[in-house]
């Protein structure tokens, strides 16, 4: 899976370019995002608007990178399509990750 980075003010926007965050894609995703966090990024917005399938391996990778953040850091997601949103609700992860409809709304909230 390709990831596209984009700095917006303090926030690093990472867009997943690919339609599946599954066992094949999870390791690469986790490695790349972990590297960004270790490089000092502490406000991260994951844009999942192209993703229409997340399995437990993908979700595990999301939890991993969340755990990697410093306590003061912020990691939020946006652009969830139906299948991805259902996966968050199914696993109660919608109570863990702040979820925004779009990049714009997420960025406004992160700046506030």
């Amino acid at each position: 899976m390709k990831l596209e980075d984009n700095k917006c003010g303090n926030a690093l926007v990472i867009k997943l370019v690919g339609d599946r965050l599954d066992a094949a894609a999870a390791p690469g995703f986790k490695e790349t995002v972990t590297r960004r966090i270790d490089d000092g990024e502490d406000t991260i917005l994951l844009d999942l608007s192209l993703v229409d399938f997340i399995d437990s391996s993908g979700l595990g990778a999301l939890v991993s990178v969340l755990k990697r953040m410093s306590p003061a850091g912020k990691l939020v997601v946006c652009g969830l399509r139906d299948a991805a949103f259902n996966m968050f609700r199914l696993t109660r992860m919608d109570k863990v990750f702040p979820i925004f409809p779009s990049q714009a709304e997420a960025l406004t909230a992160l700046e506030a």
Partner: protein, 153 residues
């Protein structure tokens, strides 16, 4: 007379094949169930097939995977078979849910071990058994029950 209304997939046990079988199973499920239910069936199929690749065949790359879909009667049945290692006794049917976490406590969140729990929760019935030297996971999804995502957990 055996039920003739089945579709059986045989593939090499690899993650790319799991993806393609998942997509196929969803396309078939959509013929019989709502799009949302078909997505759940794809998810469960992928979870179990991924376990075959990662756990049952760990490392050994020449395994085969069989997925049989039986879209008949009240249940949409998906059966996943491999001839790798058996699931350790007690793993499946374990009652502790990985989703029983405290959302405010990041340390309590699960990074793995969610696949079997998802399947137990989403399939109306799921059974794991050995058949000769094969592992079989049999999942049954009700075709009549209209399930909301919020019904789970």
């Amino acid at each position: 007379m055996p039920n003739e209304n089945y579709i059986e997939f045989r593939v090499h046990a690899g993650l790319e094949q799991v993806r393609l079988v998942g997509i196929s199973v969803r396309a078939i499920a959509e013929q019989f169930l709502t799009v949302a239910r078909a997505q759940l069936i794809e998810l469960c199929t992928v979870e179990i097939a991924t376990n075959c690749v990662k756990h049952a065949y760990d490392g050994i790359s020449d395994g085969e995977l069989t997925v049989r879909v039986v879209p008949e009667g009240d249940f949409f049945v998906v059966e996943v078979r491999d001839s790798g290692k058996a699931i350790p006794t007690g793993t499946f049917g374990d009652n502790r849910s990985p989703f029983d976490f405290d959302p405010k406590n990041t340390d309590s969140l699960p990074e793995g071990g969610m696949g079997l729990a998802l399947v137990s929760a989403m399939a109306e019935q799921s059974d794991y058994f050995r058949d000769d030297d094969e592992n079989v996971m049999r999942m049954q999804f009700s075709r009549t029950r209209a399930v909301e995502v919020t019904d789970y957990f």
